[in-house]
Symmetry: C2
Subunit: 255 residues, 2 copies
């Protein structure tokens, strides 16, 4: 069976308070896609964060002493640094132009996932508006899933993704920040290969593989393709959580 | 346009010397897939390595003193450690059961990519056979591409992937180890978003996003799905190389 990823058409610019489930259902309808059991919807973090009103105007942020120190080291706006500190549980590396943080949700990424681009606030200098990640992306995914399942009467998965940089390799990669109704990890340790040997590869980051796949057709520039319909996800759906994918600090040799 | 990934049917167990291009063309024919300009074929490292005869019998390996020391620290077979050292330019981390190496090709992975599972040698104890990565996966991809393009008269991409573990996150992810005819990285820095701001995200690891997507439907267990046909890769094809994706040591804050 093929894996097919289709960008949903006609997603408008999302504003705080928008009902994403209704918008997705209208788009699926427009695309003549009838949801089936096992389908997954992948959403760019940006539209979820905007719908949840996670826009902040830097003009309203007062940097702490710690934020001003971080700003000096990173050569970033002290007000942005204040927000980064608020969204992080640890700052792992700082260089001019670069802050790598452990986000309060557990993953490691630049600037605690706070985004400057493609953000349109309600007033003031547009350069002053930034977008924070959803407060609880697993919960965001679960709420969306509940509405989509209620409307379709199908068993679905919902995945929320962002693009993260990586150790060792260049280029950003679509990566899971929240999910509901599909596995984060798939454990294949018990499985046997064609010769009856046990497999060496232990667990597959299935949700992150799907995140990367969806990111590939979202692209970065077009906010017009922030939602992807997936058919043919090859593993059984089950309840899942972002936390499956987070490597515990004590098991991380590169933090 | 959708992105569609289809496992190629009927790929047999590959043996040293097999002509992979002929096998892929026969499978495409069986699946009634007519190649189009812009299509990409993604291959599991295993079938490329086997076709190239990269099987080694540990019974024929004599561990050096350095390999015996690495074996003591990692609690791995000293003969396997000898091969890992031969395939690496640096050993980054060692723990009991774990060796993280910088492969001579530049990427960072466990055991220098040497695989024990699903390997069938010609004789002797089957547990003694291991499989090394292709000598030069970019060249392997280029040679395959040349044959597939000659047969189809279409402009194609070929991607060779393995599954790698990651810093910070659990679970293995399909990852590029060689490519020909498609971009490793796509630079979107010049692009503007919907509001005319310049994008913050700089470069996208397009080949690795495709590697993860293909890995998702390959799975780990089944050597029966080691080749994936991709239609709808959303970036223009161009010449590419693995080296685009390797973060130079001096730009890596986590090595």
């Amino acid at each position: 069976m093929s894996l097919t990823l289709t960008p949903l058409p006609g997603i408008p610019l999302i504003r705080p308070g928008d009902n994403l489930a209704d918008i997705l259902l209208a788009s699926l309808n427009e695309a003549a896609i009838a949801l089936l059991n096992g389908d997954v919807l992948v959403l760019a973090q940006k539209i979820v964060s905007k719908a949840e009103g996670r826009l902040v105007n830097l003009a309203n942020v007062t940097p702490s002493r710690q934020a001003r120190k971080l700003a000096t080291r990173s050569k970033k706006d002290p007000r942005l640094c204040e927000l980064i500190l608020g969204e992080s549980c640890a700052i792992l590396r700082v260089r001019p132009g670069t802050i790598i943080a452990e986000h309060r949700l557990g993953f490691v990424c630049a600037n605690a996932g706070i985004d400057h681009s493609n953000v349109q606030g309600e007033s003031g200098n547009p350069e002053d508006w930034v977008l924070l990640l959803p407060q609880d992306p697993d919960r965001s995914a679960a709420e969306l899933r509940q509405r989509l399942e209620a409307a379709s009467q199908k068993r679905l998965g919902v995945l929320i993704i962002d693009t993260h940089g990586r150790a060792w390799r260049l280029g950003a990669l679509g990566t899971t920040i929240g999910l509901s109704g599909l596995p984060g990890l798939v454990d294949e340790r018990g499985w046997e290969d064609l010769f009856g040997y046990r497999l060496k590869i232990t667990t597959v980051a299935a949700a992150d593989e799907l995140a990367a796949a969806a990111s590939l057709i979202m692209g970065q520039a077009a906010e017009g393709r922030p939602a992807i319909h997936v058919r043919g996800f090859p593993y059984p759906l089950r309840e899942g959580t972002l936390q499956e994918l987070i490597r515990p600090r004590e098991r991380d040799l590169f933090r």
